[in-house]
């Protein structure tokens, strides 16, 4: 639905970095698609954002944003 505020397992706040993570990942994807060498990989982005434990990393990596689909049903 929408990115959870905190990691389910450890409680670290992860919601605040989601939009930056998504933006930087899209840059990575664009670079890969156009055959260029990406500036950073998703692994490096997560490390740089300070998301070190794998419980928190999966929160960002496995998230699917579906809020837009629910938007018409208030």
């Amino acid at each position: 639905m929408i990115i959870p505020v905190r990691c389910f397992s450890c409680g670290k706040v992860i919601g605040s970095v989601y939009e930056e993570f998504k933006r930087r990942c899209e840059e990575y994807k664009k670079a890969i698609e156009s055959g260029e060498k990406p500036k950073e990989t998703p692994k490096e982005i997560l490390d740089d954002l300070g998301i070190t434990r794998y419980c928190c990393r999966r929160m960002l990596l496995s998230h699917v944003d579906l809020l837009k689909d629910a938007a018409p049903y208030e």
Partner: protein, 264 residues
């Protein structure tokens, strides 16, 4: 007597080496941090209008999870307050949020009555509003404890491990087994120096004993020191790491004093 051998305390995370103690003491400290240290979190939310895609309850829950700056010298728990649980500035912090235009609503949109209480992390998404949707609410934050709800838990991932002890018998090692041991270590803490196997960074050892298994019996011994611990924890930002551990120690002290009184 408990000793702190090294302390690396940053604002939001800390790493301590505690020696001359036992697992029971370190665990008591860990549990006091988890369950007993009070912090501020949103408890009651009054919705005036919510036409967003999320239910009132979900938004209230998300608001509760947002870390708020906590000043334990100023605030008192509501049950102990002179207002008898009605809610006054000594025990309650009020926030308002009002958004009528489309776009993401962030934790930073919460308006505190006093700038002192402004949300630490303004970039947490709460809900996205689309054309014609509105969100107007009022929220009340109070002090609480981790044992009642995770939103009142200031500490994140507190943990400790035995301080590693690695004993190497160089006579039982040859070039080939040294190579094998270095290779298999998942944390890469072993290295070769002048034909000898040496430990680079002992604190990174996870006591996995992979290196013990690939060499001759007795060549390497790995065990944990049961009187020395590496204790690590983080905070969600509502309290800084130093205040948090001092508060936990105070709470433990008061609990034992109480016990003493009850017995004595």
């Amino acid at each position: 007597m408990v000793k702190i051998e090294s302390a690396d305390i940053k604002e939001r995370e800390a790493r301590l080496v505690i020696s001359d103690t036992s697992p029971y003491f370190v665990n008591a400290l860990r549990r006091a941090m988890l369950r007993e240290v009070p912090k501020l979190a949103i408890e009651d939310v009054i919705f005036y209008e919510n036409s967003s895609p999320l239910f009132d309850e979900i938004i209230a829950h998300r608001l509760g999870m947002i870390p708020l700056p906590t000043d334990l010298d100023v605030l008192v728990p509501r049950e102990e307050c002179t207002c008898n649980g009605e809610g006054c500035p000594n025990c309650t912090v009020r926030y308002t949020l009002s958004r009528e235009e489309p776009g993401m609503v962030y934790s930073g949109d919460l308006q505190p009555e006093n700038e002192k209480w402004r949300v630490i992390d303004p970039n947490i998404p709460i809900v996205e509003l689309f054309e014609g949707q509105k969100l107007i609410l009022e929220a009340e934050a109070i002090l609480g404890k981790g044992k009642d709800h995770a939103k009142w838990q200031a500490v994140v991932a507190p943990g400790y491990k035995y301080y590693p002890i690695i004993e190497i018998n160089q006579d039982k090692l040859d070039e080939d087994s040294i190579k094998k041991a270095i290779e298999i270590c998942p944390k890469k803490i072993l290295e070769e120096k002048e034909g000898k196997l040496v430990v680079k960074d002992i604190e990174k050892c996870t006591l996995c004993k992979s290196c013990v298994e690939v060499v001759e019996e007795g060549a390497i011994q790995v065990r944990g020191d049961e009187t020395k611990f590496i204790f690590t924890y983080e905070t969600d930002g509502s309290l800084d790491a130093k205040t948090l551990i001092i508060k936990a120690a105070e709470i433990l002290e008061n609990k034992f004093k109480e016990l003493e009184k009850l017995i004595g």
